[in-house]
């Protein structure tokens, strides 16, 4: 069986185990032998994007040491994949990013599948996260995978290409502007009436989900057009749901 390494990302390591579990299930279903190098930590994106180049270099070197021997590394994060591909060459001169695939890239470009045999009988709206879409150029790959899911009801997200306002430390340093961007994203997400809001990055979903949860709590359901806002979900978890 072809062997792939799984990079789960630090955010999923700390907060969202269901997403990497889903990736393992999808890849194994497709006949891949998944390896999880336990020494993995963080790609260094937070440090790099906040201006801490030396720290980012250290973490990039660690990543290279952990994953250097693998031909294919799969990760459920558009922005972490973009970090390795766009920034590592400038930080450490490493081209390992060429072997790092965001999940949808791996499934469509490497494995050559769009229908991964999932069934998800729910309404879902999809938010194309900025780094996945613009830095990585994912295009509609995650959406193509979702469209092939049995019984899924995909609804368009208004102003989908607008940033949710997360931006890593931007959410803290420019909290007010970030919150204003988030408010619009939550409003659009809730207006779809979808049960789930899917995306390719759990960091953005933490932000949007945290906003929706807060709105529901502080203003009751009135603030979201008389219904609960959509639940945040990584699209890998939809693809992993069994048919």
């Amino acid at each position: 069986m072809p062997r792939v390494a799984l990079f789960i990302t630090c955010v999923n390591d700390a907060l969202f185990p269901e997403t990497p579990k889903a990736v393992v299930r999808i890849l194994e279903r497709l006949g891949y032998d998944v390896d999880f190098p336990a020494a993995q930590t963080c790609c260094g994106q937070m440090h790099a994007n906040s201006g801490y180049k030396k720290d980012a270099e250290t973490l990039a070197s660690s990543f290279e040491a952990v994953f250097g021997d693998y031909d294919a590394i799969v990760t459920p994060s558009g922005s972490c994949a973009a970090m390795t591909r766009d920034q590592y060459p400038h930080l450490t001169g490493s081209d390992i990013g060429r072997r790092v695939h965001e999940l949808s890239e791996f499934l469509i470009d490497v494995a050559g599948v769009e229908d991964v045999g999932a069934r998800f009988p729910h309404t879902v709206t999809y938010h194309p996260t900025c780094h996945g879409t613009r830095a990585l150029g994912l295009g509609d790959k995650p959406l193509r995978l979702l469209r092939a899911v049995q019984d899924i009801d995909l609804v368009d997200l208004p102003a989908a290409d607008q940033c949710c306002g997360f931006g890593g430390t931007f959410a803290l340093k420019n909290s007010e502007v970030s919150s204003a961007m988030l408010a619009d994203k939550c409003r659009h997400a809730s207006s779809t009436g979808a049960e789930y809001l899917a995306a390719a990055d759990n960091s953005c979903l933490t932000h949007i989900g945290g906003g929706i949860s807060r709105l529901e709590r502080t203003a009751g359901s009135a603030s979201v057009a008389g219904r609960r806002g959509p639940r945040p979900i990584h699209y890998a978890e939809i693809l992993a749901s069994a048919a």
Binding site: G51, V177, G210
Partner: protein
């Protein structure tokens, strides 16, 4: 019709405050946000339409980026070539190291022409050097003739956008400004765009006919021919460039293009990127002075004002490729919500966030952080300035706040050692147990409060991926 007192928006937003603070004030102005969202949304859609019409749009962007990179590689030789050719064509060329020199040269030329006032073509370079303010201080008067610049000048406000300096006003507010500040506004002026334009036209016509001196910038300076180019929509530029006897053009040295043929690329990119038009209504090209045709005294002031400093930075210098189209402002989710004044610099939005701290080293250090790095700016930039790359590059300069530096260092130390990282994950899981019942953290102490001000935070899971994986391997 009742009118409201004009309160210049710039006077409400503290220009010297750090961006987050100024932005907070702007966010609290509902009319401003409404005007901005409407205007940027409209231009954004127009740009996307007309850019999408061209099959070779990406090739044009590549060509523009390549031409600008070439200019940056041989700026000194091109500047001298421009000077030689402009002088040969009858222009006088002056060199200004900084704003002060440029303003003094311009004021001297105005005095030598026996004038006390000038009419102005819309120009970012003159905004950058605060020419109007300098003229005022030395007893000269500069009259803006671009409609939006006129609105801003009458309101005693500051521009909030590169292309549409009055973007923060709606037409009712503009009516009030004309009514109260223009002096010769027709009675019963309505807020119909045609009526407002007519009022401005009549007001400006008197100035065009009496002005002896005009001041302009330039969109492009062609080294090969010594020509200057102004791209505009209203025709006020054409009036200023042809009617007065003396013309002073203040041109940043980065505006140079090697050859006239290079305009082919930029004349396709600029109107589509800026106003969302296939072609702009007025393009003026002039080369030196000619007897009986336009101004007889033609002056060009080549302006550095920090540009050679920017040129010295290999990553940052791409900011000098900017053609001031403002497409990046119109797509920026931050700019859309705060407007331009919060940036505290004449160049706001994404391009301002990389240009301002480079043109004025040591100042505007907060601006590179005024971005979520979403990349929408890079996607639309007609000259392919990788704005997110430069933002990150400038963030590396610091200064970083001590507390943040310590936190980042600690995070790196933990993340660089897998055993420590695993221990930290375990500690976070156990530490958060008392709150687990709620599922979410709703209030954190500072600096976590910067997050929980508007978002709940999920708690670590009971069982993490590593536990699951280990269990499975057994």
């Amino acid at each position: 019709m009742s009118t409201h007192e004009i309160v210049p928006a710039a006077s409400l937003i503290p220009a010297d405050a750090p961006f987050p603070k100024a932005a907070k004030v702007a966010l609290g102005m509902p009319q401003l946000r409404k005007n901005l969202a409407h205007a940027t949304g409209t231009i954004r859609a127009k740009r996307a339409n007309v850019a999408g019409e061209l099959d070779d749009w990406e090739a044009l962007r590549d060509a523009a980026a390549a031409i600008k990179a070439d200019v940056q590689h041989r700026l000194p030789e091109l500047a001298i070539e421009f000077e030689r050719n402009a002088i040969a064509a009858g222009a006088q060329v002056h060199w200004a190291r900084d704003a002060k020199e440029a303003n003094e040269i311009a004021a001297r030329i105005v005095r030598d022409a026996g004038a006390e006032e000038v009419v102005k073509v819309k120009s970012m370079a003159t905004q950058e050097i605060e020419l109007n303010e300098h003229f005022e201080a030395v007893g000269l008067k500069a009259y803006e003739t671009d409609l939006a610049e006129l609105i801003v000048q009458l309101a005693e406000d500051k521009p909030s956008h590169i292309l549409v300096p009055a973007i923060h006003y709606n037409r009712t507010q503009i009516r009030d400004i004309f009514d109260q500040k223009m002096g010769d506004a027709p009675t019963g002026l309505t807020d119909e765009p045609a009526a407002l334009a007519e009022a401005a036209r009549l007001h400006l016509r008197r100035r065009f006919l009496s002005a002896k001196v005009a001041v302009s910038g330039a969109n492009f300076a062609v080294a090969e021919t010594g020509s200057l180019v102004v791209v505009e929509s209203e025709g006020n530029g054409r009036m200023c460039l042809t009617m007065p006897e003396t013309l002073i053009s203040i041109v940043g040295i980065e505006k140079l293009l090697p050859s006239f043929a290079d305009l082919e690329v930029f004349m396709q990119l600029l109107p589509r990127s800026s106003t969302g038009e296939r072609m702009n209504p007025y393009t003026s090209v002039w080369t030196g002075a000619r007897e009986g045709d336009g101004p007889k005294d033609v002056h060009v002031i080549l302006l550095d004002n920090g540009r050679t400093g920017v040129l010295a930075d290999e990553v940052g210098r791409q900011a000098l490729s900017c053609i001031r189209c403002s497409a990046c402002l119109n797509v920026c989710p931050v700019y859309e919500r705060t407007g331009g004044h919060a940036y505290g610099h004449v160049y706001p939005g994404p391009i301002g966030a990389i240009l301002a701290p480079q043109l004025e080293p040591g100042r505007h250090d907060d601006l590179p952080y005024a971005s979520s790095l979403c990349g929408a700016c890079y996607e639309v930039c007609p000259v392919k300035i990788d704005i997110p790359e430069v933002l990150v590059h400038l963030r590396q300069r610091g200064p970083h706040q001590a507390g943040e530096q310590a936190a980042m260092g600690a995070a790196r130390a933990v993340m660089a050692r897998p055993a420590l990282w695993r221990a930290a994950l375990r500690a976070a899981r156990f530490g958060s147990m008392p709150w687990r019942r709620k599922g979410f953290l709703r209030r954190l102490p500072w600096p976590g409060s910067r997050w929980t001000v508007s978002r709940d935070l999920p708690l670590p899971p009971k069982e993490d991926f590593r536990d699951w994986w280990k269990e499975r391997q057994r």
